[in-house]
């Protein structure tokens, strides 16, 4: 029973990792950009949530109404102001610029909020739980999982059913021809980053309610998101959910064996997938 419990908790944890991964997967799909600062942006969102809840006395979920547009705005400006200039055949500039960005965000957060661990006050929802067949599930993890599914379904819808998504797919396939067809790729990339950071905002708030956070943990979140993307298969949004779940389950099962194995087990699961299925478990079929 303990093991089944760990399995279920791991799956729910996977929802959070899928949210970390969805933004990464989206921007990679649209502009082949890997954002090293992704994890630090998640932590930035958590801190913005903290400031909003403290200053306005809002519940973290309501703070999302402010943090989401804010993060989306940051994303658009960041993309058009800096990141668009780095895109090209050479992979080094985007990598190094986002790496620089990561260090800047981390240290700016450290200066503003100090290194003390903080947490978002979730109220009753933090401790509420439901009992299903002898397994107790926290309401917050359940909600996180449901939100992850909703976010991925939403992104999937935008990608394949809207004109915005058509723009995303067009620039993803061929930037120059998309440009010839009247799409402004600089703007499309900006919107894609805005959307990705709106998802990051959701991930940051949920992370902040679940555990305590400090400015230094962004790198770790980037790694979890990245592992979920690779396990699930590049370019497959639903795959990131599967990847997140596998990672979450590996971690909770690892922790069950020995608390020191929690993170190690997740990394090992990732490396095993990489060794056995280098393209991930559910790679997008190339047409």
């Amino acid at each position: 029973m303990d093991w089944i419990n760990a399995l279920v908790q791991g799956m729910l944890l996977g929802g959070l990792y899928a949210l970390f991964a969805a933004g990464l997967s989206l921007i990679f799909g649209v502009m082949r950009l890997v954002n090293i600062a992704h994890g630090d942006l998640i932590i930035l969102a958590a801190y913005l949530g903290l400031s909003t809840t403290v200053l306005l006395g809002l519940h973290p979920f309501l703070a999302l109404l402010i943090v989401m547009p804010l993060m989306a705005g940051i994303g658009y400006v960041l993309q058009r102001g800096i990141l668009n200039q780095t895109l090209g055949p050479d992979i080094l500039p985007p990598l190094l610029v986002t790496f620089g960005l990561s260090v800047i965000i981390q240290n700016a957060l450290l200066e503003t909020y100090t290194a003390d661990p903080r947490k978002l006050p979730g109220g009753v929802i933090e401790t509420a739980s439901v009992d299903v067949g002898g397994i107790t599930m926290g309401v917050l993890p359940l909600l996180t999982f449901a939100i992850a599914i909703a976010v991925i379904a939403g992104l999937q819808f935008i990608f394949y059913r809207t004109s915005l998504g058509r723009g995303f797919r067009a620039v993803s396939d061929n930037q120059d021809i998309a440009q010839l067809m009247g799409l402004n790729k600089a703007h499309v990339f900006g919107v894609a980053m805005a959307l990705a950071l709106a998802v990051v905002a959701v991930a940051g708030i949920l992370l902040g309610m679940r555990t305590s956070f400090d400015p230094a943990i962004g790198g770790g979140r980037l790694i979890f998101g990245f592992e979920a993307v690779i396990i699930g298969g590049l370019g497959n949004l639903w795959g990131t959910l599967a990847g997140g779940i596998i990672l979450g389950v590996a971690q909770t099962l690892g922790a069950k064996i020995d608390p020191g194995f929690q993170l190690l087990a997740g990394h090992i699961a990732f490396l095993v997938v990489l060794a056995v299925r280098p393209n991930g478990l559910f790679p997008r079929v190339e047409h």
Binding site: I82, L92, L95, L96, G100, V103, F226, L271
Partner: protein, 333 residues
């Protein structure tokens, strides 16, 4: 008549000047203070890390953010081999390099499956595996780490002054050997292949260069030397812990900034970058984390406005090359 040559007047002057400077630096234990020597040792070790990372990222296109795996591994091997193996520290440092080379082969076969930026993050994951694994080894102090026993420290030199001079010379020697080795490698036939890969992978493979193997060789050699430098770093620190040994900030972020600011893909770049980095650090030392903010900002500006770094700007303006790698045609009337 025209001849093809590599050396220029600037490069010959640089060689002589560099040789003289080296003599002065080698004599530092006779003229420098203790704090200065420590700072200079740190500069040499960072210079070595930067030169190695530059070879890997700037020439072989392997942009790793996980070289802290080998820095920490080298450090831990120094502790493990001296404490449990009874080996002399210098031998332990060298053995650490050999072990790192062996270890880097299976790691490369795994990490090379990831391309570009995914390779970067993949190497970071591997470094995390190293950190978490060493944190599990209770004999080496687990998560809190351990100190090098006094008896082992004394093997470097019985007296403090001798010890400090010896570890200074080790650091200087390592930097000189690494820069010379990278220079010699780049001038060799294989270095030419590597430069071809840097310029165009497609064209290089069309000329019959085995890209995967060339990259693997660079990765293995770089990792081995990085582990040796790691051993020397912790021989200076005398204390090791998983967080310090496998720190992504200390051993990778700084190194990347050094190379980018100095000029990636050149031998001169890491040297200039290291000097600028330490200048910045010493000037902004009183402002705490601000200097990291400044560093990140400078790196972004350099990458956007002058992607070839400070040395790239100088080279463009004056056509200067201190380490003669490219060929020049000289016409005689």
């Amino acid at each position: 008549m025209s001849t093809v040559t590599r050396s220029t007047r600037a490069s010959r002057i640089a060689m002589i000047g560099g040789g003289l400077l080296l003599l002065v630096l080698a004599a530092a234990p006779y003229w420098a203070g203790r704090a200065d020597m420590r700072l200079m040792s740190e500069i040499y070790l960072y210079l070595s890390l930067a030169t190695l990372w530059n070879l890997m990222a700037g020439y072989a296109g392997l942009v790793s953010v996980g070289q802290q795996a080998y820095v920490g591994f080298g450090g831990y091997m120094l502790f493990a081999l001296t404490i449990f193996g009874g080996v002399h520290p210098v031998v332990a440092v060298l053995l650490g390099g050999v072990l790192a080379a062996l270890l880097s082969i299976p790691i490369a076969t795994l990490a090379f499956r990831l391309k570009g930026a995914y390779f970067a993050i993949g190497t970071w994951v591997i470094a995390e595996v190293f950190r978490l694994s060493f944190a599990q080894i209770q004999a080496l102090g687990g998560g809190s780490g351990s100190s090098l026993p006094v008896a082992i420290v004394k093997e470097i030199g019985a007296k403090k002054a001798v010890r400090e001079a010896n570890s200074y010379w080790l650091a200087l020697g390592a930097a000189v050997i690494i820069i010379a080795a990278v220079y010699a490698f780049l001038r060799s036939r294989r270095g030419l292949a590597l430069t071809a890969i840097r310029d165009s992978e497609t064209a290089a493979s069309g000329l019959g260069i085995d890209i995967w193997r060339t990259k693997l060789e660079v990765y293995v050699v770089t990792s081995a030397f990085t582990a040796i430098i790691g051993g020397l770093i912790f021989l200076q620190k005398l204390r090791i812990s998983p967080d310090a040994a496998f720190s992504v900030n200390d051993w990778t972020a700084f190194v990347i900034f050094i190379v980018v600011i100095g000029g990636i893909g050149t031998l001169e770049g890491p040297i200039i970058g290291t000097l600028l980095f330490f200048l910045l650090r010493e000037v902004l030392a009183d402002f705490g984390t601000t200097y990291l903010l400044v560093l990140g900002f400078v790196a972004i500006v350099v990458m956007l406005k002058a992607p070839k770094g400070v040395w790239g700007l100088i080279r463009e303006r004056y056509d200067l090359e201190l380490f003669p790698l490219s060929y020049r045609v000289r016409t005689k009337d």
